[in-house]
């Protein structure tokens, strides 16, 4: 049986749900080896959290260079492992870090690359949703080792517990991968809410909030949801840019997306229209976002959301 690499994905010091999603896709192709890159002496602790999904092996590579040099160092080590172990495919999470690793690995191993796959089949065909989710594309890498980045939250993860065989490996990191130096790293500021691209539910606010996101946030918290924002809201400085959903921001594909006071310009829809269910709250009955809503409430979000928040809290208590 062939061997498939996944780059283990971590949220803080624990394997994220994305790791299990990558493993689920990878197991269709072959036996999954989750590769863990960690600071010297930290590999075993990280590897111990890689315990969900169909994972046969965990390969630990430790080096102080990963924290010091970031993407180029990890990519160099991964490329060298691929050259020595010849996996049938490499699956990596589709976020900024993962895509840049994939980019450098594709160059270093002379391999084709596909980004933002929402599914990968046993024959290594990747499914992508392009042009803001309006078109489904199936494509395949035709040269080298297929390097495929997979969008978090797209594949239903097999969350059965795993007891993988753990192995340590060393990987060479070349001088060209050590040219940039990281002097400090701050983890993202967590407001106790789930990460936008990984959340099952996203509640977003737009121009209609007039800068007051309290109703949106309270509603999001009642659902355990992440909070997003339209570009109008982030450009106005009402909410951080890191929460922007849309063509120039994050692309999300949750089970449920709730758009509050967002008109639904094509650029915003490009970032959310592959959500499984869409709910819209907007005062303007002509807002184009109603065209893609499974359920729409024509009304003021400052009336509708608090009532909905109270309704959900009542059901939970």
């Amino acid at each position: 049986m062939s061997n498939v690499f996944i780059l283990a994905d971590f949220s803080g010091d624990k394997a994220s749900k994305t790791t299990a999603e990558l493993a689920t896709a990878g197991a269709r192709i072959g036996a999954v080896t989750a590769v863990v890159f960690a600071d010297a002496g930290k590999g075993a602790a990280f590897a111990a959290t890689v315990n969900q999904g169909p994972i046969a092996n965990v390969l630990i590579v430790e080096s102080a260079d990963f924290a010091k040099h970031g993407v180029p160092a990890v990519a160099d080590a991964l490329a060298n492992l691929i050259k020595s172990k010849s996996p049938a495919a490499v699956l990596i999470a589709s976020h900024a870090f993962g895509k840049e690793i994939a980019a450098r690995v594709a160059v270093l191993t002379e391999s084709g690359i596909i980004t933002d796959a929402v599914d990968v089949s046993a024959d290594r065909t990747a499914t992508q949703l392009v042009f803001g989710g309006s078109t489904t594309v199936h494509s395949k890498v035709s040269h080298g080792t297929p390097i495929i980045t997979v969008r978090p939250n797209s594949i239903e993860a097999d969350l059965t517990s795993a007891t993988p065989a753990i192995e340590n490996a060393s990987a060479e990191i070349g001088a060209a991968a050590k040219l940039s130096a990281i002097s400090s790293s701050q983890p993202p500021v967590k407001g106790g809410r789930p990460e936008l691209t990984e959340a099952n539910i996203v509640v977003s606010g737009g121009r209609g909030t007039n800068g007051d996101f309290a109703a949106v946030e309270n509603f999001a918290d009642s659902l355990g949801a992440a909070v997003g924002a339209s570009r109008a809201a982030t450009d106005a400085g009402w909410y951080p840019h890191s929460h922007q959903v849309g063509q120039t921001g994050k692309t999300v594909s949750p089970q449920l997306y709730v758009a509050c006071g967002i008109s639904g310009a094509i650029q915003h829809r490009a970032g959310m229209q592959t959500s499984k269910s869409i709910i819209v709250v907007n005062k303007d009955p002509e807002a184009p976002i109603f065209d893609i809503a499974d359920f729409g409430v024509i009304g003021d979000l400052f009336n509708v959301l608090p009532q909905a928040t109270a309704g959900i809290s009542a059901k939970k208590s």
Partner: protein, 260 residues
């Protein structure tokens, strides 16, 4: 300093995009300078202006580099009208359908031959949205990678420091010249070309190079599209008007669909 900015002409993000024979139809669609590349042009100009300017006889030059069909001169001209000095457009029929690997290979060759100190890119194009070309150029040239920058500080003696902002957090990174930078959109507010800038851009040189002049052979794409199917548009569902119980109706919908 010699600064290069990589830009791409893309279909207008308002336009309807279609696939023809597995490739994006770039002919029958309005084309513009990739939004996110405007931030790269702006940052290049600001760096030049902060360290002696890029006017005639100034200490710096800003060169726009683009790969695309001949028509991409329109997007390149926009970058020139913002204030870049000159431009190189790599255009060759053999490059139609080039993937990110082929694109990065051509751009890296031109950049490497140009003797630049700093190359600046946008983080992604609004058509392909891969965010891979800056990292690929860095890997191909063996230059420092300073990507997803929300702040760039240049020491003209030969060092660049950036603040990198991604979902993984905030990093402070630095590297010695030559470097490849990509900038995120919150880094600056791109200037509108002035009338003077637009007039001046008409006289600026856009040097066209084909693959033979660049000195790389054409490389076919290393991934192929099997099929592309438009997805059925989402049908609009139930719409209710809030007459005092809109929130309750919303909760009922969530319960009905088992979303809570």
């Amino acid at each position: 300093m010699k600064i290069a900015v990589c830009v791409k002409q893309v279909p207008d993000s308002w336009a309807e995009k279609k696939m023809v024979n597995g490739l994006l139809d770039r002919v029958n669609v309005d084309a513009v300078l990739n939004d996110l590349d405007e931030y790269a042009v702006e940052e290049a100009l600001r760096i030049a202006e902060a360290h002696g300017g890029n006017e005639e006889g100034g200490a710096n030059t800003v060169t726009v580099i683009s790969m695309g069909p001949e028509r991409a001169t329109e997007a390149v001209r926009k970058a020139l009208s913002m204030g870049a000095n000159d431009a190189i457009l790599i255009t060759d029929t053999a490059l139609a359908g080039a993937d990110a690997l082929a694109t990065s290979s051509v751009l890296a060759k031109v950049i490497g031959d140009g003797g630049y100190d700093i190359v600046i890119c946008g983080t992604e194009s609004t058509d392909a949205r891969m965010s891979v070309v800056p990292a690929m150029i860095s890997a191909r040239l063996g230059w420092g990678q300073l990507t997803f920058a929300s702040k760039v500080t240049v020491d003209p003696a030969g060092k660049v420091s950036i603040t990198r902002v991604t979902e993984a957090g905030v990093d402070e990174i630095s590297a010695a010249f030559p470097v490849v930078i990509s900038v995120v959109e919150k880094i600056n507010e791109p200037r509108y070309p002035s009338f003077k800038g637009i007039m001046a851009a008409k006289k600026k040189t856009i040097e066209q190079r084909d693959l033979a002049t660049v000195g790389v052979s054409s490389q076919s794409a290393w991934s192929q599209v099997n099929d592309a199917t438009p997805r059925p548009p989402r049908a609009a569902g139930v719409k209710v008007t809030d007459e005092g119980s809109g929130g309750e109706a919303l909760v009922n919908f969530l319960v009905e669909k088992k979303l809570i």
